[in-house]
C-alpha cells in the first residue's frame, strides 16, 4: 500500500506491518526531550507509573531553557530538579551556558537526523521536520510514558501536501512561507494531519528557513510538518551528526488529505496581526502600526540567518527612541557566531539589548514581557492574547527584516524603506 513520508516513519517505528490514517498505533521514539517546564511535571507522572529508570538513557535529553536563567526561586528549583534528575538517570542535560533553546540546540548539535521519531515535551518539537524527522509535541504525561517505555500512542494522521512553487524574493523569509500556509488553511486547518513541504520552492530553502517553516506547523493545528531530506539536509548534517540515515519520501501514488500550493514568486513579507497566527496581512497593509517593543529570537527565528538579516537592517541605523529592541540568539553557538561576525556590535551600536539564549519573553516568562496597552512585533511563533505578558498587550509576528525595520521606524514599514537591497 502506498504511503506518505509521515505514514512510513510512523509505521517503521511501530509493531504493525501496515496502518492507515485513523488507526491508533504505538510509536517508538528515537529521542525523548523535555525542558524545565514540562520535565518536572513528567518526572512526577513517571514516578506515579511506578517506573524508576528511563527506557534508554542514551535516547533522552533534557534542556533548561524556558525560565533560564532562573527568574525566581521557583524557576530555580525546577532547573535544579531537571539537573539532579538528569544526573540520576544518566541522561544528557543542557544546563545554563551549555546550550540554549531546545529545538535549536538539538538540531545544531546533531541529535536529529532524517527518519527519526522525536517525542518532545514542547509543542514546537515539530521543528525537527526541517530535517525530515517526525518530531511531535506532547504533554508531560505522554512524555512520562515515553521516558518509561520509549513509546507513545498515536492516531495515524493524514498528510496535507504543501507545494511551494517559484522562488522567494527580497526580504521574504521562511516565516512568510509558513504564515502564508496558515493564512491559507487556517489555525485548525492542519488538524489530524501532517504538513509535507515539497516543490522547487521548498528544495531551494536553506535549513534555517526550513526550521522556521516546520516550527509553526503546530500553529496550523498540524501533528507536525516535514521537509523530505535532500542535499541541503545532507550538507547541513555532514560532520554534525554521526547517526546514519537514509532519505525517505512519500510514494508517488500516496494519497493526501489535501494539496495546497503557495506561489513564492508573488509572496510579499507578511505580518500576523493580533491575536492569531492566522490573522495574516501583507506588511504594506499593516504599515504605520506603532510598535513599543521588537523581539527577535525564539525557536523559529533566532538563528544566525535571522541575526544576519537583523544586522542588515540595523547597520548604520538607530532603534527608534520610543522602541525597546531585544535580540535573543537561540543558542550559545549562534551567539558566538554572531559575535565573531560583528553582529552583536551592530545591535548594541543601534541601541538594542542582546539577551542570553532563552525562551524568555516569547511565552511571557521573563526577560522582556509587555505592559497593558503595549504592542510588540516579534519573530516568535505565537501572538495569542496575553502571550507575552499583559492580556491587554498585542503581538504581531513577522520575519527578522520586518521586525528590525519596525525597530528603526517605530512602526511597521516595508524593510525596503530602511535598507534598499538585502546582502544575502
Amino acid at each position: 500500500m502506498p504511503h506518505t513520508l509521515a505514514e512510513k516513519l510512523l509505521i517503521s517505528h511501530s509493531e504493525v506491518d501496515d496502518a492507515s490514517p485513523g488507526d491508533i498505533i504505538m510509536v517508538r521514539c528515537d529521542l525523548v526531550m523535555a525542558n524545565d517546564v514540562s520535565g518536572p511535571v513528567a518526572f512526577r507522572q513517571m514516578e506515579r507509573m511506578g517506573v524508576q529508570r528511563v527506557f534508554d538513557p542514551s535516547k533522552v535529553v533534557m534542556v533548561s531553557d524556558h525560565f533560564m536563567p532562573a527568574k525566581d526561586a521557583r524557576s530555580a528549583a525546577l532547573q535544579k530538579r531537571l539537573k539532579s534528575w538528569s544526573d540520576l538517570q544518566g541522561v544528557y542535560y543542557y544546563g545554563q551556558g551549555r546550550g540554549g533553546i531546545e529545538h535549536t540546540v538539538l538540531v545544531e548539535d546533531g541529535w536529529i537526523v532524517p527518519g527519526m521519531v522525536i517525542a518532545g515535551g514542547d509543542s514546537h518539537t515539530c521543528t525537527y521536520g526541517a530535517l525530515g524527522a517526525f518530531g511531535t509535541g506532547l504533554g508531560s504525561t505522554d512524555i512520562a510514558a515515553c521516558l518509561a517505555f520509549g513509546e507513545f500512542w498515536q492516531q495515524v494522521p493524514g498528510t496535507i501536501q504543501v507545494e511551494f512553487t517559484g522562488h522567494k524574493g527580497s526580504f521574504v523569509a521562511g516565516k512568510d512561507l509558513i504564515l502564508a500556509v496558515i493564512a491559507d488553511i487556517g489555525v485548525g486547518g492542519g488538524a489530524n494531519a501532517v504538513l509535507e513541504f515539497v516543490g522547487e520552492g521548498a528544495a531551494s530553502l536553506s535549513l534555517d528557513d526550513r526550521l522556521a517553516v516546520a516550527n509553526m506547523a503546530v500553529e496550523a493545528g498540524a501533528e507536525t510538518g516535514i521537509f523530505p531530506a535532500d542535499e541541503v539536509t545532507a550538507r547541513y548534517l555532514d560532520r554534525r551528526a554521526d547517526r546514519e540515515w537514509h532519505p525517505e519520501r512519500s510514494d508517488p501514488d500516496a494519497s493526501y488529505v489535501r494539496k495546497v500550493k503557495i506561489d513564492l514568486n508573488s509572496l510579499e513579507p507578511l505580518v500576523a496581526l493580533p491575536h492569531s497566527p492566522g490573522n495574516v496581512v501583507a506588511v504594506s497593509e499593516a504599515r504605520g502600526t506603532k510598535i513599543d517593543q521588537v523581539y527577535i529570537g525564539n525557536c523559529s527565528n533566532g538563528t544566525i540567518t535571522d541575526l544576519r538579516q537583523t544586522a542588515e537592517i540595523l547597520r548604520g541605523n538607530r532603534v527608534h527612541p520610543d522602541v525597546r529592541a531585544i535580540i535573543v540568539p537561540a543558542s550559545q553557538k549562534v551567539y558566538r557566531q554572531a559575535i565573531s561576525e560583528g553582529l552583536i556590535d551592530v545591535f548594541i551600536e543601534a541601541g538594542a539589548v542582546v539577551s542570553t539564549p532563552t525562551c524568555g519573553a516569547c511565552f511571557g516568562g521573563h526577560m522582556g514581557v509587555l505592559a497593558e496597552g503595549e504592542r510588540a512585533i516579534t519573530t516568535t511563533n505565537r501572538n495569542f492574547k496575553g502571550r507575552m505578558g499583559s492580556p491587554l498587550a498585542e503581538v504581531c509576528l513577522a520575519n527578522a527584516y520586518v521586525a528590525a525595520a519596525a525597530a528603526v521606524a517605530g512602526e511597521i514599514v516595508e524593510p525596503a524603506s530602511i535598507c534598499s537591497e538585502p546582502v544575502r
Binding site: 511506578g50 503546530v218 511565552f363
Partner: protein, 167 residues
Amino acid sequence: MIIEGRAVLVQQDNVDTDMLYPGAYLNIDDPEGMKPYLFEGLDPGLREELDGDVILVVGENFGAGSSREHVVQAMKAWNIRCVLGKSFARIFYRNCINLGLLAIVQPQAAEEIKANDIVRIDTKAGELSAAGRRYSIPQIPDFVLDMVSSGGLVSWASRRMEENTGP
C-alpha cells in the same frame, strides 16, 4: 461510562492554552498550585462557576497552541468532568485523554447547550442529553475510551507494566 454535570460555557473559538493558563505560571509543577490560574488569561471570573461536577462546553479548536499539561491538570483539580466541544487542538485532546478527562466532539450539542443545563453523557449508549434534547456521540476509539475509563495514561501504563501488552 456515565458522566453527569452542569454546563459551563466557553463559547469563543480558538481558545488557546495561553488564555487557559498563561506562561507566567508555568513554573508551578503541582496540580493544586496550578488550580488558581486556570482561565487566568481568558476570564478569571469563570473559576467561580466551577462548583461541583462541571461539563465544560467549548467551541472550535479549543486548547490550541502549547503542550502545557498545566491546563488539563488544573481542570482536573477543579473537578471538571468532561470537555464537550466543536473540535479540539491535538495536544490538548491528548492531554485530556492521558489524564483521564473525557473530551467529546459534538458540534451541535456544543452549539445548543445553555449555561447550567444538566448534561448527561453515556459513552456506552453513544449519546448525551441536555435540557430534554438528545444527541448521538461520534464513535470514540476503544483505545481512547479504555484509557479514559482506566483513569488515564498513568494507570493505563501501570496496568500495562503488569500485563506487558500493547493496544
